[in-house]
């Protein structure tokens, strides 16, 4: 457990924590990738900002401002959420998994492996959100996914590079390879 912000934040701590000094500060305790963090946050702070700016977990990306692109998808208590539209305070007591927490003991998660194996990424910017969404799809829909299901379920994730062809193949392969593995639910 460690505290990230104090009310009387030193100037350098403040620089990495975008918040209005006049705003109320509230304490939140969240488990992120298995590590419990207690922090004082501006009530307006989004989960994406908390992960990126406060915890330096920059694998979670922000690609839009209308909750459309899915670059920011993480898991909260085992379910996919868009961290750009989730208040950090709403995660109090919860457990968050980001792309950085998906692989265990240096071994890639089967979905990560499938994205590489199928050339399911180009610039890589949408990829963390894609992979987190894909794992969630498998958790909800099972290991055998047809093409139409994958395409429909990827509704909340935009990729501008790949044309989705290889992403669809990756999700199907990753799903098949996730059989029997309890996947990053917490």
């Amino acid at each position: 457990m460690f505290s990230i912000f104090k009310k009387s934040a030193a100037p350098d701590a403040k620089a990495s924590a975008p918040q209005d000094p006049g705003a109320p500060i509230t304490t939140v305790t969240v488990t992120v990738n298995g590590r419990t963090v207690t922090a004082e946050v501006d009530p307006r702070m989004l989960l994406s900002q908390f992960l990126r700016d406060s915890l330096q977990l920059t694998g979670t990306h922000v690609g839009c401002d209308t909750s459309q692109c899915g670059a920011c998808v993480v898991h909260l208590d085992g379910r996919a959420v868009k961290s750009c539209t989730t208040l950090t305070l709403a995660c109090d007591g919860g457990s968050v998994t980001t792309i950085e927490g998906l692989s265990q003991d240096g071994t890639l998660h089967p979905m990560q492996e499938a994205f590489r194996n199928n050339h399911g990424l180009q610039c890589g910017f949408c990829t963390p959100g894609m992979i987190m969404s894909a794992v969630d799809i498998v958790n909800r829909k099972g290991n055998t996914l047809d093409e139409a299901t994958v395409r429909a379920e990827l509704e909340g994730n935009i990729c501008r590079c790949t044309g989705y062809h290889n992403i669809v193949a990756a999700v199907r392969e990753g799903a098949a390879n996730m059989t029997g593995v309890k996947q990053a639910a917490e």
Binding site: D65, T98, H119, G124, R151, N166, I167
Partner: protein
């Protein structure tokens, strides 16, 4: 072919960091003492700035500075430039207005930069920005391209009367007019090439930093070409001399052209960093990106094709208005001229061509290169014309194309280009087979039974890539040369670092380029690293766009490797104690007919550095070589895409059923990556045809400024693609490669629209063919018999 060499579908080496969240994009970087920039942008499309009151903003908590165009001008920071001079028909230069990074007295589009607010935190900067009071005198907007040049329209720049930047032409008008006069059949169409927003998923971002001790500026930025950015920021905008400015473009999350240009925000962050003596970071929000990233396309064209009685094409004539937006972006002027009209011959033997283009100012965001840049517009004109001509003449569209194909090479078109190789009929034949063209009538009948209209559309595209021979583009008005550089540094242990002026933002250079090195030097791919995107590491380069990094960038690496091999053979000669000219190098082994001893590449590398086997008088120590490669011709990738789709006349929805692409990219280095590039290009082309369109209202407000309003292609909008290759190696570069990055985006729009109009039985529908547009069009009776 080795497992990691040329032609192998090697899995991408860069993926490890991206799939684990360890990529390092500009917004992932934070500098000590960093401040945050927020731009105050014009809410009006056209207005005079009467006054700017920054006092409340400056007093806002956490506000570090508020800077305006007046201060920028006082610091003598130059305006943003357009790097390609276009001459009018009469030989006079184009007429361009000034483009300051922060507006001084006039704003010309919604989102135009009025002031920058620097805050201790992003929230504080935003709060302060809301307190900047700008008093505007609103002027009338001009957003309609078709009427922007009409008398009485508001004038956007005093330098450009009638809002006309240029009236340019290419080709022999009198020959074309004569051919039309003698034609047996003339096809005439009006086309809208809809305005697009590039929408790389990573928004643009910049961090400017000033090191007072070294008097050195550093810019971290989302750039496709950091060296060109440094050159422009130094030589034209004047922020620092080149040796005092470092530009770093780390991982970049897609570009598609939009990250080529030197924008106001990067310029201002760099300037402001020196002023506030702290790093200044700006990250674009999506709506800002919609407003201010350079848009693409936006043409209105009337095009005509003249045929003889047998269906042979005699001539092509086109008149295009190109919307350039409110200011000329970095390469804006070249896109609807030299990147467009020289491709109007398509794959066809067309004896004469004439094209006239007006570049037009409107009070909208600047328009510049977007994936394909001019070539998708040209292909759309040619392939829609050819399709309609075939239909009007009662000919099968595939056979109509075939009888007009260019069949012997080299082929000089009437519009500048000399095509080097290709086999257009081979691509067409393969495409017909893969799509099961013979089965189309049965499939149409089956669709009709379900109340659906099935259509098939071809697009036989050509592009000019490998941009570009420097002297040739110089003679056409380019302000720069378009060669590429490479340096191959061999370390004493035999590992290899390649420094390239190309930049990878999704294209997989770290894999493809390493395959070339691995194969040619016979070293394991793991021992090769590709360095790019930092002007302090790579001496110079022209960056990545125009499908140039294979044909030009890799050719530079190829030549540098040649020099390394020459030097290494000399070293090996001394070590083996044999004459240098007896030394052979193959698969990483140095041998000689004069001895049965051999040396590995790492052994020779070590000898080059310890330099014990030769004297300084005999040979320089070390193993490092560089090359600048200037291409001798463009490359001409080509291919045939076929789209087959079903339209539901009751709802207007379109479902793409099959997509076949047969492409000729010359030799392939990594076929897996090449196919991925085609997939992505097709998706963007289908997006243009069916979904995407930037819409401004009459007052100049952008109505499509978010993902809620601008329809991006999603997984469920797109089909799977069937892609095959029919390669003819390119003769003008050592690797025989042609380039593949833009082909899909160039080919796809025409294929989709040819299919939709085939389904509808008439031509009266424009892109984007949204369900509403298709439904309306489906209410009209077919004007011609649907080909059965």
């Amino acid at each position: 072919m080795t497992a990691t060499g040329i032609g192998a579908p090697v899995k991408r080496r860069e993926d490890q960091r991206f799939i684990t969240g360890n990529g390092r994009y500009t917004d992932d970087i934070n500098r000590p003492g960093q401040t945050y920039a927020v731009f105050v942008r014009s809410p009006h499309a056209h207005a005079k700035i009467k006054s700017i009151d920054t006092s409340q903003a400056k007093a806002s908590p956490g506000c570090v500075a508020v800077l305006t165009g007046k201060e920028l001008a006082a610091d003598k920071v130059g305006g943003l430039i357009c790097g390609w001079m276009i001459l009018n028909k009469d030989g006079t230069p184009m007429k361009a207005g000034a483009h300051p990074a922060l507006a001084v007295d006039t704003v010309r589009y919604v989102g135009d930069h009025v002031a920058v607010v620097i805050g201790e935190t992003l929230v504080e900067a935003k709060d302060a920005a809301e307190k900047v009071v700008v008093n505007y005198e609103v002027l009338p907007a001009v957003t309609d391209l078709g009427s922007a040049q009409a008398p009485g329209q508001p004038q956007i720049h005093p330098e450009a009367p009638g809002n006309t930047v240029y009236n340019w032409h290419l080709g022999d008008k009198s020959a074309v007019d004569a051919a039309f006069a003698s034609a047996a059949h003339v096809t005439k169409i009006n086309l809208v090439n809809n305005r697009l927003v590039p929408n790389a998923i990573e928004p643009r971002a910049a961090i400017g930093e000033y090191d007072a001790g070294q008097d050195q500026l550093t810019l971290y930025t989302t750039s496709q070409n950091p060296h060109v950015a440094r050159l422009v920021l130094s030589a034209f905008i004047g922020l620092a001399p080149e040796h005092k400015l470092r530009v770093i473009a780390p991982d970049v999350g897609g570009g598609f052209g939009s990250k080529i240009f030197i924008y106001a925000e990067e310029t201002v962050c760099l300037w402001a960093a020196r002023k506030v003596k702290r790093p200044v970071k700006w990250t674009c929000e999506r709506t800002e990106a919609f407003l201010c990233d350079a848009h693409g396309r936006d043409h209105l064209t009337t095009a005509e094709l003249a045929m003889d009685a047998s269906g042979k094409i005699l001539a092509l004539r086109a008149k295009t208005k190109a919307n350039l937006g409110a200011y000329l972006s970095t390469f804006a002027s070249s896109v609807p001229t030299y990147l467009y009209a020289p491709l109007l011959s398509g794959q066809y033997n067309i004896p004469s061509i004439y094209c006239e283009v007006d570049g037009v100012y409107t009070t909208t965001a600047p328009v510049d290169a977007y994936r394909g840049a001019g070539r998708p517009e040209a292909t759309f004109v040619v392939e829609r014309l050819v399709e309609v001509a075939a239909r009007e003449m009662g000919k099968d569209p595939a056979e109509f194309r075939r009888i007009n194909f260019i069949t012997s090479f080299p082929h000089a078109t009437p519009v500048i280009m000399t095509y080097d190789t290709g086999d257009y009929a081979a691509c067409l034949d393969k495409a017909l087979e893969l799509i099961d063209y013979k089965g189309l009538p049965a499939r149409k009948a089956e669709s009709a039974r379900k109340g659906l209209k099935r259509g098939l559309g071809f697009s036989a595209y050509i592009e000019a890539c490998g941009i570009a021979p420097s002297q040739a583009v110089g003679s056409l008005g380019a302000g720069v040369g378009l060669w590429e550089s490479a340096e191959v540094r061999v370390n004493p242990t035999g590992s290899v670092e390649v420094l390239t002026g190309s930049h990878s933002h999704g294209q997989g250079h770290e894999t493809t380029f390493a395959q070339l090195v691995s194969q040619r030097l016979g070293v394991p791919i793991e021992t090769v690293s590709i360095v790019h995107g930092d002007t302090d590491k790579v001496q110079f380069g022209m960056g990545t766009y125009g499908s140039r990094s294979g044909a030009v960038g890799m050719s530079a690496i190829f030549n540098a490797i040649d020099k390394v091999i020459v030097k290494a053979k000399k070293v090996a000669g001394f070590v083996l104690e044999v004459p240098e000219d007896t030394v052979d190098f193959k698969d990483g082994i140095f041998s000689s007919t004069a001895t049965n001893k051999t040396l590995t590449f790492p052994e020779v590398a070590l000898q080059a550095y310890i330099a014990h086997k030769f004297t300084g008088a005999q040979l320089e120590p070390g193993l490092k070589e560089g090359a600048f490669y200037d291409p001798t011709n463009f490359t001409f990738p080509s291919g045939v895409h076929v789209c087959e789709l079903e339209v539901d006349p009751a709802t207007g929805t379109t479902r793409i059923d099959r997509w076949v692409a047969v492409d000729d990219f010359g030799n392939l280095i990594n076929p897996m990556i090449v196919e991925g590039q085609v997939h992505g290009g097709i998706a963007q082309g289908v997006g243009q045809a069916l979904l995407e369109g930037a819409v401004y209202d009459k007052s100049g407000q952008l109505l499509t400024a978010s993902y809620m309003d601008y329809c991006m292609p999603r997984a469920s909008d797109l089909p799977s693609y069937k892609i095959e290759m029919a390669s003819t190696p390119c003769p003008s570069n050592p690797l025989g490669v042609k380039g593949c990055g833009e082909a899909g985006a160039i080919a796809a729009p025409a294929a989709v629209m040819n299919a939709i109009t085939d389904a509808l039985g008439h031509e009266e529908i424009d892109m984007p063919a949204t369900p509403q547009a298709v439904w309306r069009a489906a209410q009209k009776a077919p004007r011609r018999m649907v080909a059965e």
